[in-house]
């Protein structure tokens, strides 16, 4: 006997956000990337439309990272001192369709670059590659508040995704992306209320909710992944039920969180029973990404090309 599938009907829809602008749209990107637009929970194709697959953005820095573990260093070290080459290699060798550049060099502890230098780097990067860009600051509020508006202006018309607006520091960046036609990452500390409040505060400044992406903040596998997962899931359920103030795509900084932890970094000498570190970090990053995809992640910012490839295959298998 055939069993009838019980299908959920949702009234809400996740906003579509497009990153990058082609020449026809006033930019210089070779293509654009669109995320969001879902009308159902992840991969429940029968319940609604899932027009855009989750995408992977390769994370690069504008300076040599000082805390990336050996396994990542082996892959990228040759290009660390030449971030533009690093970017080019991600696109060429690893088929990155989207780059996420962290302007860490601005940080007082990591080179303390001048804001103008960061803007110059953004300009150069836009020339070097044609892929759409996600641009994030160094995390030092004072410095970011001076530098990011300059970078935003430097990338005017390219429809980048800028980050991150925080509850305590959202006004400067919001005003900049509003003026320069970019989209904005709103970051909240694994807190559904603050996620929504921040979206309201930013919308109150005149930036359309359709130009927002939520960074819910995540913990990697074993470090609070399930907590992040449930916040994302609740957020998505509220959005599909009609709450427009949480109906934004998610961006998850998977690489950044996964490669921080002991399990991804420790050598086999320290923990022989854990197996070779060469595979461990990659598996950790890929596993974290796979779980978050199920929670509704739209953009996965990743580091290791092998992990990225595994996740890409996983996404394709889910969508085929």
């Amino acid at each position: 006997m055939a069993i009838e599938a019980l299908l959920e009907k949702w009234q809400g829809k996740i906003n579509s956000v497009t990153i990058g602008a082609t020449a026809a749209e006033g930019g210089t990107r070779t293509h654009t990337v669109t995320v969001g637009g879902q009308t159902a929970l992840p991969f429940l194709f029968k319940e609604g439309a899932l027009p855009n697959k989750p995408v992977i953005a390769f994370e690069i820095w504008d300076c040599a990272p000082d805390d990336w573990p050996p396994e990542l260093a082996t892959v990228y070290r040759a290009d660390w001192s030449h971030p533009l080459e690093w970017a080019a290699r991600c696109v060429k060798e690893y088929k990155a369709g989207l780059l996420s550049v962290r302007l860490q060099g601005l940080h007082p502890d990591c080179g303390n670059k001048k804001p103008e230098e960061a803007a110059e780097f953004v300009r150069a990067l836009l020339k070097k590659t044609g892929v759409p860009l996600i641009i994030t600051g160094c995390g030092d509020d004072d410095k970011d508040n001076i530098a990011l508006p300059l970078c935003s202006e430097a990338a005017k018309g390219q429809r980048c995704l800028f980050g991150s607006a925080l509850q305590d520091n959202y006004k400067t960046l919001t005003a900049a992306v509003l003026a320069d036609g970019h989209s904005l990452i709103a970051e909240s500390p694994i807190d559904i209320n603050i996620a929504k409040q921040l979206n309201i505060l930013i919308s109150d400044m005149g930036l359309s909710p359709a130009r927002l992406v939520i960074n819910p903040t995540i913990g990697p596998l074993g470090y609070g992944l399930e907590y992040a997962y449930s916040i994302m899931e609740r957020c998505r359920l509220a959005a599909l039920a009609g709450d427009t103030m949480v109906a934004m795509p998610f961006i998850c900084f998977v690489g950044q969180e996964s490669w921080k932890i002991k399990e991804a970094r420790a050598s086999i000498r320290e923990f022989p029973q854990w197996g070779p570190e060469k595979e461990r970090g990659i598996i950790w990053e890929a596993m974290t990404a796979a779980a978050l995809i199920q929670a509704g992640a739209d953009i996965l910012v990743m580091r290791h090309p092998v992990a990225a490839q595994k996740v890409r295959e996983y996404i394709d298998s889910l969508c085929s």
């Binding site: 509850q167 305590d168 006004k171 807190d191 209320n193 929504k196 409040q197 309201i200 505060l201 109150d204 709450d243 427009t244 103030m245």
Partner: protein, 641 residues
Amino acid sequence: MAKLTVKFIPDNKTVEVEKDRTIASAALSAGVPLNAACGGDGVCGRCRVLVRKGQVGALATGRMSLADMRKGLYLACQTTVQSDLEVEVPAESRLDMDRLSAEEIDRRLKGFYGPSEDVQSLEAAAPVKPAFTGSALTEKLYLELPPPTLQDCISDLERLYRQIQAQKDYIPEHAGLAAIRLLGELLRSAQWKVTATVGKRYGIIELLDVEPGDTASRNFGLVFDIGTTTVSGQLVDLQSARVLGTRATYNKQASFGSDVITRIMYAQKEEGLEKLHQAVVESMNAITHDLAAENSIDLNDVTCVVCAGNTTMIHLLLRIDPTYIRREPYVATANFIPVARAHEAGILVNPRALLFCLPGVASYVGGDVTAGVLACGLDTADDVNILIDIGTNGEVVVGNKEFLVCAAASAGPAFEGSGVSCGMRSSIGAIQKVTIDPKAFAVRYETIGSAPARGICGSGYIDCIAAMLTCGLLDKDGKIKAIDNPRIRATGAGREFVLAAAGENGCQADIVITEADIDNIKRAKAAIYAAVVSLLKHISLDFPAIKRIFIAGGFGTSLDIASAITIGLLPALKKETFVFVGNSSLTGARNTILSEEACATADEIAHKMTYCELSVEPGYMEEYMAALFFPHTDIARFGKK
């Protein structure tokens, strides 16, 4: 041990104390009221004094800068007496013990509505409230007894009882030995014409007192609302059921801490309970004295006292240790207090007078809430109504004639002017209404008594935050926007907005609202709103099911509904839904003293009310977090998109 002398100026009061006592304790002995919101813990920084002469020992405190100490300023509670001293108490360190103004009392007790406020008074909006029947809790009966004869030779007491039974439908079952001892002589010298005072202790009739002659027309009662901040009292003619006068004063316990928790902690200190007990009784006796003098009545003719107060206040009034109210699982020593003598609690009226304390429900829902339910008639209505008593401890009751549930939420003292930088209680000079011009951000404010502004009271803060939100000075998170305007100043701890500058309209110092103040108010309003929503969820109801929301409390009487909705303290419902009831707890106490039936009803209400402990309610914290936004994270609830 040698005594040292401490002289306080400008009071010119001198007191002898032992070496190493604090200046604060010397001030207490000298009867100089010092402000001590923290109860002497050295954290509120409000008891600054200037040491003019003599040696002191000062404990380190983050509340005083080196510059202040060079000027001779010290925190009285952290500074010890080391030699004879001369200490000046500046005006701002003084606890304002003046009685409230007549206007203020009027506002607190009868309800205060601004001319623009479209709200109905209790009488007009609440036909649910029945007139209670039954006679007052104490009655005076003039009796003319037939003198005993050989044929009619029952005892004097039985003779008295027989006469009472002949005139009333009850017979006393109980009498005090003191009254009986005097009875034989008294009846005969009064030629068998006497006035008997009878009291009704939940159905048991007691012969309280016998007086010669006819004094039946002189029978008075006192009702009190003992609040954490304010004590209100009302003198009632029990014969005619008329209110003769109402007075309010600050609860003198305020010098031991501004909230119940600090007071409970103080009660655990040596002599702490005794001091707290004395302080509240003094406040009540001051009111009693004034009301009696005003009406030229003899305190011996006050035969009954009814008190409504939160559980802690009643414990302290009766000198019952409140320690366990504060400790999990938060248990009071007694919620249903047996009828006692007013005298036993130290209330200076007729020594035989009865003292009723309205029964409480739980450790944080006291007899004041029971009285409020009685006054609003929640327990008799067909429709489901809500009573919200807004204060340091906010209480919420939901129900109708079939059920009553209640909860308490700790809102903190921000609404009562504590823990906020320019906060003050709602007394003379408090900014209570604020409007801000959306273009130039010019501020117009009203102060209580139209006096020069001295600070901001709870309703002033609500009005001010609502105005700042409306004119775009504030984001929904409560952060002041960086707008180039002389009224907006950046400080080390965020921005502040100047409501009144020093020198403006006789204002002594700048009156500002800081981002930290706004955060405090945000947390207080979130606690109250979350309590209301959680309690409704607990019983599977929602606002559309609610007919009326009664708002009570000294603070509530001067609350602007529209502003309260703008900041998300109250739900966005039609204005007609809200009814100000002013001090509903005093009204309930008055109903009780005038009617045995009301007294029995209060008892029933307290028995039938179900207490919901929000701290273990899973949804409460969730609701509270979501309410930490102006007006709310779920903005759709407040009709916004």
